[in-house]
Every structure is written in C-alpha cells, then in structure tokens.
Symmetry: C2
Subunit: 306 residues, 2 copies
C-alpha cells in the first residue's frame, strides 16, 4: 500500500475500503449530524444514532433525510447514550465512536472506564492529519498532540508518538518519519524538551521504538524543509522530511495544528488514537471538508472488515 | 501615524525615516554583511564594522563594495568586538546592534553586562513581525517569544508582552491588540497557562498593563479570525483581531513563528526588544528579504534622530 499523498486520497481510500459503522452518542448535534450525513452519502459509513428518537427523526426529516436510513437507539440521557455507544464499539458492532452533543468530558468518562470502556493500555492522544505544501512538495503530515495531553512526560511523549505512528501505518506509511519538535536543534540544559527529544531519537535508533524513524530535537524548518535541514546541518537522513511532528506541549501542538488551517488554508482531520477504536470529536468551527476528512481518517484507522 | 499594513510598508517607512547607524561586532559574517550591504544600498542604515580590518576589506572588495563606505574598527577578538559595539550603542553613536560571526551567547554577555551593557530594567525578548493573510485580511502581526525566554513566568510574560507592545507602538499601532495564546478559551486548572493568560487580560482591563488591549486565554483561531471568535463566542472586542500573539513557551512561539515562513510563505522580521537599543540576530537560513525586513524593523524600533 502506498502512503496517501493528499487529503483527497485519504477520503478516496476510505470510500474504497467500504462502509464502516459509527456509533454517535447524543446524536442531536449539528456538527455530528453534518459529519454522519456527508460520510453516509459518500459511502464511507453507516451510523447508529443514540439520542431522543422523536427529536432525531424530526431533525433528520428537516434535513430531507429518511430517518429509516439510520439505526436510531432511543436514549435521551447523555451519560447512558455514551455508555451505550461505547458498549457497541466494545462488542465489535461499531468501528468508530463519534461525539454528539454531549461534552467531551462525558464521552471520555465512558471511553476511559476501566471496566466497560475502550482503554487499550496506553495514553489516548489527538492526531491531526493535514497537508504540507511547500518547497515543491505536497504531502500528508501530522501534528500531535494539540488536543488532549497538556504537559506530557517523556513516557507520555512515547505513547503519543506511537499512537501517531499507528495512525500513519493505516495511511500506508511503512516507517513514518517523526520529528521531535523543539525550539532548536541542540540539547540545551535550559530546555528540558530538547533532552527528551534527543532521548526519543536515541531510543528509536536503538530499536526500542519500532516501526518509525525519529529525529530531533529539531525546529519546524528542519522538520519540514530538506533545504533548511541541510543549511542547519542536521545529520539525520529523515531531517526535513517529517511525516509526524511530535510537539512538546499542548500549547505548541495546538497552535501548530491550527496554523495549517488558519495560515496555510489546508484541510485537516482529527482523530483520538490510543483507544480500542478511533474516537472523533467534531467541532462546530470546522469546515464541512474537515468533518468529512475526519470521518475518513476514523474509517481508515478503524480498518478491518470489508 | 497609521499602523503599517505590510512588510513592504515596514521597509518603506524605515527608509523614509532616514539612515540609522548599525554597530556590527564580528562583521566577517556572510549573514551580517548581506544584511548590512542591502540596508546600506536601500538608504536604511550606515554601519560600523568591528572585526579583522584586512579580512573585512578583502571581503567587501570581493563583493564589489568600496570598503571606504564603512567605518571599520580593527578588532579581531570577538569578545572585545562585542564590548566595543555595545559601548558605541551606549554612547549614542550607534542605534542598532547587529550580531556578526560571534555566537549569540558572546554577544548577549556584552549586552547583559550590568555595568557596561544595554540592560533597560526588563527582560530581553524576541519579537517576530510578519503578515497574516486570510479571511479577506492582509495585516501585520507579531509572535513572541519564540527565541529567548524558555518557560516564562507570569511576570516574565508581562515583560515579553510590553516589549512587543513597545515595538508595535513604533510601527504606528496606538493600542496593539494582544492575544494571550493557549490551547483553548477557558481557564482550566489542568492548564496553568490559561490562568496566566486570563490574569494578563484582567490586568490590562484594570489598567495595570497600559498602551494595549489584551485578551485570552485564546487559541490561534480565536486570535486571528473574527469569524472563529464569533463561533467560539469570545466576548472581547479585540477577539479575532490580534496584532500580537503572546505564546506561553519558547516551543509554542518558535513553531508558530516558523509556521509563517514555512506554511504561509510570508516574509518575517525579528528583533530582540527590551534592551536600550534593538538587537538583531541574523541567521544563515533567512531569506534576503527577511534580513532586509529585520534591518528595517530594527531601524524603526531604534527610531529617534532624523
């Protein structure tokens, strides 16, 4: 399988894979229904909608959609809807969890429940997938973690890295190249993140982190531009060709992830990785294209079947 | 004075202001000479070059420049060159300090010397000035501090903020709008930077931080896009119209600053503010246009004269 080269290919490959099944707690949500209907129309996914049946049927009819196209489970209580949707995923009857109108906290409570949730042993982290266009290149890259883990420890960073690498394997990247981002290229005692970046790169070089290449510490230019990496004399063969940018804090990851939308105008997709199934958190502020890309990303990460 | 609206206007205004005087320790540096020669040719600045006289004259001649156009001070020792250049600025005989081939550490040692340096009471911080193009807008914005202060305290952030505000006053912005950037818009106990952002905004609202508007915590979209700020219901009148983006860490600031170059392809300028005179640190990886913009920024921040 070739690595995908654009967000368009992301959607095409997800469609080609066949329909996946999405469980949506609190489905009376404009954002969630936008995503579900578009993904359904494209042949990407079927949905099981948890919520108030009458309200949902009315909402679907108002959008000109036959409510009979969806499996609706009457569950007006948000917490119970979350548990029901998670249970469906645990039972293998749904492949993806998509947040509806309930809060992210309510959803994650059900996901993280030790007895009945979707824990898989590691951390859950946000992986943002987008396109980098520059220096004659047009390719798919990821930024992590700008959404979940605030101030990750070295062990946390390793989990976050592995989650993103797992996502990229599903996108056809055999050995994703990971840049451990910092503000510069040398280890400085005044900047603890530089030492942790160097340690992650060393662990990968020792074979303790598998399935990827890791380089760092490196700043954004040395991560993305082969020319900048050459000027800065970064010796690693993957320098300037990062697929995944591992950020040292939520603030760094969040700004960089949003820069792809607001400075570069690129489409973006988000998935929470590290649970037993991909979790999608749509946002009202997202463009329709971004919602579709996230559904496609979720479907490819879920994989299996078909 | 109107606020500048583009990097082109930044250069034009600096040229219109008349020549400033730049002191360059360790001037046998390709980056520094590039900047000096271009600024000199544009009528922006004259230079006093500290270094090995014979080597400098040879270098200038090789570039087809009459060495007689510059005031060359023979000082082959880098540390002494740094002290000499700083002394010239202290004496009011130069307006701007431009790093040559010596290390940033060597230069800053001379700048920060309590007896003979250029301390002005507060922190020294990096202010990156660039353009934001999006949502039908084309305007000048700044990112701070992606270069000097690693993990600023609340008091440090206040100094960094005031340094950037001072720079923007020199660019014609009467009351710059400052976004205290974080990963989200609410104060969360799990994210100490959100509480500090809220405190900076509150201090400005109480009139304790003067000469600017401050809002936050806010993520990049709510800082730069009026539409996103509206969707996210951020109540501050400056939301979505940030001139200055105050970042919570060097890693966040560095990636965001570099995103303007590498994701958005915009010209950028850097100045160290907070000393008695602007300090410029040119980098080999910078484009020629960026070097010129930094010289213009330094000249406008130096102000005075003419």
């Amino acid at each position: 399988m070739q690595p995908i080269r654009s967000m368009r290919e992301l959607v095409e490959r997800a469609v080609a894979q066949g329909r996946r099944r999405v469980a949506v707690p609190g489905a009376q949500s404009e954002s969630a229904l936008d995503a579900v209907l578009e993904a359904n129309a494209r042949g990407l996914a079927d949905a099981v909608l948890f919520g108030d049946r009458a309200a949902l049927e009315k909402e679907l009819a108002a959008r000109g959609v036959d409510p009979g196209r969806f499996d609706i489970r009457h569950e007006p209580d948000d917490a119970r809807a979350a548990r029901g949707a998670v249970e469906l995923v645990r039972a293998g009857e749904a492949d993806i969890l998509l947040k509806g109108r309930l809060s992210t906290g309510e959803l994650m409570k059900a996901v993280l429940d030790r007895a009945t949730g979707l824990r898989a042993g590691g951390l859950i982290s946000d992986v943002m997938v987008t396109e980098f266009v520059g220096g004659g290149e047009h390719r798919v890259v990821a930024v992590t973690d700008g959404g979940v883990n605030v101030a990750p420890s070295l062990a946390d960073k390793r989990c976050i890295l592995l989650n993103a690498v797992g996502v990229f394997h599903r996108l056809g990247f055999e050995r994703p190249r990971v840049a451990a981002l910092c503000a510069l290229e040398t280890v400085s005692p005044a900047m603890p993140h530089t030492a942790e970046a160097a340690e992650l790169a060393a662990a990968a070089a020792r074979g303790e982190i598998e399935g990827c290449e890791v380089f760092g510490p490196v700043a954004l230019d040395g991560a993305l531009s082969v020319e900048a990496a050459r000027t800065k004399k970064i010796p690693h063969p993957a320098a300037g060709r990062a697929d995944v940018m591992l950020c040292p804090s939520i603030e760094a990851g969040n700004s960089l992830a949003k820069a792809f939308t607001w400075l570069a105008g690129r489409p973006v997709a988000h998935v929470l990785a590290g649970a037993r199934a991909p979790v999608l958190i749509p946002s009202r502020a997202e463009a329709a294209m971004d919602k579709l890309c996230s559904m496609a990303l979720g479907a490819l990460v879920a994989g299996g079947g078909a």
